[in-house]
């Protein structure tokens, strides 16, 4: 009788432990995925600002257009964590205002360095859109997992902060058709 009880309790403890460790492992994997997504989003944003600066410094544009671009790119690159979403949105708006100028693309495509720069810019803009969406997906899943009863009670997330979505206006210039 006692032996059976010990066996049953033992089995329950073992199963619970396996289950908890499986949940913890899953949360851990989610955190790793989130971190990678964050890194690639950071890289995409830095890249976009760099290409915008490069275009501004290329002497292919008039000085006013250069100044609009360079200012926005610089603000985006140097913004603190609090202002970052705002500054990146501003860069998106500045890019739209610049690239959507009448005949802007034709004019740039006419000079030898212009074409490749445009292509790099298009790629950088697209990658911001992609990586932001992937990051926000990862945030969503991780948040749901962290909010589960078990994860909260046993603090499975450890010291990992509750992740925040990255919300910016990343609408691309009209001439750049994505999706």
């Amino acid at each position: 009788m006692t032996t059976t009880l010990i066996l049953v309790v033992g089995a329950i403890v073992l199963l619970t432990a396996v289950y908890v460790s499986w949940r913890a492992g899953r949360l851990d994997r989610l955190h790793i995925r989130l971190e990678l997504a964050r890194e690639s989003l950071d890289a995409a944003l830095v890249r976009r600002a760099a290409v915008a600066l490069e275009l501004a410094a290329s002497r292919l544009l008039d000085p006013a257009t250069s100044l609009v671009l360079a200012t926005a790119a610089h603000e985006a690159r140097t913004a603190g964590p609090e202002e970052r979403e705002h500054a990146e949105s501003d860069l998106s708006r500045a890019l739209r205002a610049v690239v959507d100028q009448e005949r802007f693309r034709d004019r740039l495509a006419d000079v030898p360095e212009g074409g490749p720069l445009l292509e790099e810019l298009d790629a950088a803009v697209a990658k911001v859109i992609y990586s932001r969406r992937f990051y926000n997906n990862a945030v969503d899943v991780t948040r749901t997992a962290q909010r589960r009863w078990l994860a909260r009670t046993l603090r499975l997330a450890g010291h990992t902060a509750y992740p925040a979505f990255f919300e910016i206006d990343d609408t691309p210039p009209k001439a750049l058709a994505i999706e």
Binding site: L53, A56, A57, D62, P63, A64, T65, S66, L67, V68, A70, T71, A72, H74, E75, T78, D90, R93, A94, A97, V98, Q101, E102, R103, F104, R107
Partner: protein, 373 residues
Amino acid sequence: MRIGIVCPYTWDVPGGVQAHIRDLAEALIEEGHQVSVIAPASENAPLPAYVTSVGRAVPVPFNGSVARLSFGFLSANRVRRWVREGRFDVLHVHEPAVPSVGLLACWVARGPIVATFHTSHERYRSLSVTTPVLMSALEKISGRIAVSDAARKTLVEFIGGDAVLIPNGVAVGRYADAEPLPGWDEGEVIGFLGRMDEPRKGLPVLLDAFAMLAEKRPGLRLLVAGPGDAQEALARVPAPFRDRVGLLGMVSEEDKVRAYHSVDVFCAPNLGGESFGIVLTEAMSAGAAILASDIPAFRKVLDDGQAGALFETGDAASLAREAAALLDDPVRRAKLSEGARQAVWKYDWSTVARDVLRVYETVAGTTGVEEDD
């Protein structure tokens, strides 16, 4: 003299720089000079005979707020043609460090170029990276004017070199007399004029202060004139007081003057950035009792409080306290109003245009302004 003036902002949208250029141009024309102004303008906007349009301006984030600017090759070409056909003795560019027509004009022209710097910034970091872009254009400027000490300090700090100080002018006579707007001639009224959606103009501070005052003063109303999102502004005011806020939107020049005469206290709650406060000097010309934030430029224009009361910048409680004191003290209001009318005379356009002309004469040479290729 044949004078070409370049305006960076949309002509038909009210703004300090536009008003400055209009009044300067008209004062110079009055003196018998030939003046042509080039500026961005909305399609079909009625323009005075001396203004040439460079086309529409595009809204774009710049230096902390959204500005409507005109840039790009098409605009540059139109400025080039205007310079070529104008054969000016002197070219007067405004705000050449802003990416708009002023900067383009420096790019496409050479010869005697005068530039006026209006803005003051506490933070203009981005300028350091973009300096190479700006430098080649700014190096062509032979005479520089700053409209305030703050603007001059910004110039010295971020661009280098110095400038002469010629403050903004005010057409004092234009504001002196007007009837209050219909429906605004009784009760207590606090007034505000400026863009509602530009944080630096400080409207939220005033709205918060109004919410504090409204309960104790049932007769108090708020008059707000200027473009921007009305719903967003109203949302900041507690619901029961909303019908005591009058949002006029963008007003005509005539209604603006009447608005200054409709208020018991005119409030300028700017958070900074304003180099001079053309709105402030207009209100002074109208003899309004002024309550302004304590930024250095305002303190100076208001003679350290002699020509208008000051409150702690950005502090709604301080604004509410000062406004209540003013509303309760008609004698002090009358005194401030008189002080304002006196102090504003040294800013009248007749004085200013004379000084600007001296700058033109200093830089103008035997050759006029030419197209640069």
